[in-house]
Symmetry: C2
Subunit: 526 residues, 2 copies
């Protein structure tokens, strides 16, 4: 009865065409301050799209960058940092080593310490950019119209504040929910699960207790985590202002999620959801890859990546994995940047780089083995590929938990990963229909949207350029402090009034009572 007639429905599209009242902003100048690593990969898509629409894009790139490179579509402006590539690798190595350990409760603190060591190094880099007066003067004179930045690091927001530039923030979310706090977005701990709790949006009483406690702890973690951010912010801007206060000036928050991945929760008018922005554009596979995956026949193939962060695994771990792959009929494409190990099984192809999204869009793909970074997850959801997930650190365990709960993935842990465990998980996802059915359903809902995430991101970036911000979406809550926001002063005042009224009433009654009583006593005596 109800039919979805497939791709590209002309009639709806044409209406959208007619309704686009305002067009591109011509010749906008955008300053881009990205965060290196996987964060850059999806921001780059927006940067390239804005460039293609005629905007001048200037991207600030630290000298020792991992993934950010020059391009035709934007001008990369490199800046000196006080750390070397070796320092960066060293800080990464520490995190990488932890991956092989058994997870413990102390992981929360390990995670924070790892994050602190990484961000502190980056903050140092940021500092040397901010105090590079020649470069800053040059940028200031450019008179940009917009700062597009990832607030995971403080540089972008601080520059936008210093230059009085309207800012568009591009992020998945900030540690300990600082983005929600800065956007004045309510986040009731009764049904919005906190990170590192393994809670879903439906919790038992003990889980809610844990969630409330974690919400409290987040406040303390926030203080520690953002100390160096706060210090740099107030020192550079020469006023007593926290990093959170600076973030409050966001014109638009472009959040890389939607509600096929996150649990439904309150949002604010200037929070725009662009989950799946990274799977917008698909290209055909290179000839050799196409041949490899086509050769997999009816069994199909598996895509295996552990993100840009993990280049290789210990030999023993690799052997376990190889042994598992030998026992399945599927071909395996594995992104592996280290030294190629011996005895690679015939059905396994190791590659230094994979066109991950294009591979996941291939009709013969059966399973996606991933560490559960938000980019990979969305490529899995967009293309409807069930997953076997091996979370490594940071938000990945929570990400994976969300997918497992939705019945579209199996989860494994790296420290105790064996041939058998991988085989059990793989065969479950390969053979039980429910995984494929549920991810297909999720994929359909994810793609069933009135406007594509990339177009939405472009629209709001240009909106901010056209209007110098998005003032009409800014809640007045920013003018209130915590006590005022929660009306605690008002409640206190009303309780005081009530107490006074009760006091006066009681006193008056007592007085009257005494008067009457005395009179009665008197008359009795008389």
């Amino acid at each position: 009865m109800l039919k979805v007639p497939g791709l590209l429905a002309a009639s709806f599209g044409l209406q959208l065409f007619l309704c686009s009242f305002f067009g591109p902003v011509e010749g906008g100048k955008v300053l881009v301050m990205p965060v290196d690593g996987s964060h850059w990969l999806s921001m780059k898509i927006l940067v390239e799209e804005l460039s293609q629409r005629g905007h001048e894009m200037v991207v600030l790139v630290p000298e020792t960058s991992m993934l950010i490179q020059g391009s035709e579509s934007y001008m990369a402006r490199s800046f000196k940092v006080p750390y070397t590539k070796a320092d960066l690798d060293g800080s990464m190595k520490k995190l990488r080593e932890n991956i092989m350990r058994e997870p413990e409760f102390s992981d929360l603190f390990e995670n924070i310490i790892g994050l602190l060591s990484f961000t502190n190094m980056q903050v140092k880099g940021c500092e040397s950019l901010l105090y590079n007066e020649a470069l800053m003067q040059e940028l200031r004179e450019k008179r940009f119209d917009l700062m597009l930045t990832d607030p995971f690091l403080p540089c972008g927001p601080i520059i936008s504040e210093a230059f009085s530039l309207p800012a568009v923030y591009f992020l998945r979310g900030l540690p300990c929910g600082l983005d929600l706090e800065a956007a004045q977005c309510p986040s009731p701990p009764s049904y919005v699960p906190r990170f590192f709790t393994d809670n879903t949006d439906v919790m038992t009483f003990p889980q809610r207790v844990q969630n409330v406690l974690m919400a409290g702890i987040e406040g303390i973690i926030c203080k520690v985590l953002y100390t160096s951010f706060d210090e740099l912010t107030s020192r550079y801007l020469k006023k007593d202002v926290s990093y959170r206060k600076v973030l409050q000036h966001a014109a638009i928050w472009l959040h890389r999620f939607d509600f096929t991945f996150e649990y439904p929760r309150p949002v604010m008018p200037n929070m725009v959801r662009i989950g799946g922005i990274n799977c917008a554009k698909k290209k055909p596979l290179p000839a050799d890859l196409e041949e490899f995956v086509e050769g997999s026949g009816d069994h199909g193939f598996i895509v295996f990546t552990l993100g840009s962060f993990v280049s290789e695994l210990p030999e023993s771990k690799t052997r376990e994995l190889f042994n598992a792959f030998r026992q399945i009929p599927q071909r395996v494409l594995w992104r592996y940047t280290g030294v190629i190990p011996k005895d690679v099984p015939e059905n396994v192809k190791l590659l230094k780089w994979l066109p991950q999204n294009d591979l996941l869009a291939h009709p013969k793909v059966k399973v996606f083995i991933t560490h559960g970074g938000s980019h990979g997850i969305y490529e899995g959801i967009c293309n409807g590929v069930p997953m076997v997930m091996i979370p490594l650190f940071g938000d990945q365990r929570d990400n994976v938990h969300r997918m497992v709960v939705r019945g579209v993935a199996e989860s494994l842990t790296m420290y105790d990963l064996t041939t058998e465990k991988l085989l059990v998980a793989l065969r479950k996802v390969l053979n039980e229909k429910s995984y494929r059915e549920k991810i297909t359903e999720l994929s359909l809902i994810h793609r069933d949207r009135p406007i594509e995430p990339l177009d939405l991101a472009v629209f709001w970036s240009e909106f901010v350029m056209r209007n110098g911000g998005a003032e009409h979406l800014r809640p007045a809550a920013h003018t209130l402090n915590w006590v005022q926001y929660h009306s605690l002063d008002v409640v206190g005042f009303l309780l005081l009034v009530l107490a006074v009224v009760v006091f006066i009433t009681v006193k008056t009654c007592a007085f009257c009572f005494r008067k009457c009583f005395r009179r009665t006593l008197k008359s009795k005596k008389e």
Copy 2:
């Protein structure tokens, strides 16, 4: 530097065209339960659009309807109601009489009583529909895919619950914020102004006290206002369920507002803003009107309507207005359905019906005199016409206040409206540039959106048909009661634990202290 190149930008539109992944749903069956009067006027636009996209639209119409009529684009299914047109007019007359009185604090209660008398009559109508077993059976057998309804009256939501139909609610808002409550949408009284308070989103301490008190009173009003709704709901559905509980099953809330009119506030994922849906389609003016407004020359013309509710004014009031209009060079088009009075000034044309939106889109229009219904306000905003506003009842005073605060309108009161007062307001809005500038700015921001409200409404209606609801946008908060939602049980438990810990610590310390102290005493004695 930044140029908006005018209407219809092909490049952005084309991208929107390409991004529309899913097309129209074919042959959906939609049951429509509208609310009579002005509420119907904008819902009708969506009903007609859905019909044009191939859906079968069945509209339930009470026998004694004010504005809902049959049409080619939908099937009107009439049902008997236990009141006559005279009864309806009588209940309206009472409200109309109040308009001429001086506003007082008791207006809040007058408003509620008026609303109660109107809704109680409508609830009776609803009851006779629900218990019309033949019709209900006929509808049930139709196997609809969607219930599109205005939850201002309980009939639609109750039927959708009884038929297990996914529901799309089309509304501006419900009295005492029942819609927000049912959608689990946070609404902090510290910066979200309550109705009938004249507060904005930035409040002084006394205003915040007033707002918090009003938020409390709303709870009580809610109880009174929705008593008959609750009673009918639980009686008909044969279970102990309140109207609010039934509303919680909404798949999508289509809210007829945006943040050029409302103050920015938290929203929920399944709340879609379609403010301005009523000014989507513009038609050329009829020849006689075109001639009249073109003849106004450089002075231009004024559009004057008091909504579908007020047909005529007392003679004395009309005289005051006529006297004012005689003293201005503009021509005036006045929607006036009563008996045409004597001495109509030459520059004034009275008409039983006006193509309001088309007139407001005319380049020669100077001012819009309106009662401040949300439909009229959006037509004013869409077309960028400054307003002189005369609020009459209900939410209109609050609506008008919002516009006055934004500097795009002057406000008057009907009870003490004189020639002089109208002239002062009119001349201010006509001659001071700021009104025109500010409404133009508001209009530009309102129309600067990635997708038109009508397309958004169509998309989400079809989404619900395609997917049998919008489960992925439904917050888990619905599973919690008030105490759980606010984590009061968790806080209580944690306080208890704290108390026990403190108690045990104190007791242990006291015990140790006594032990040590005694020993010291003993040894001293010895």
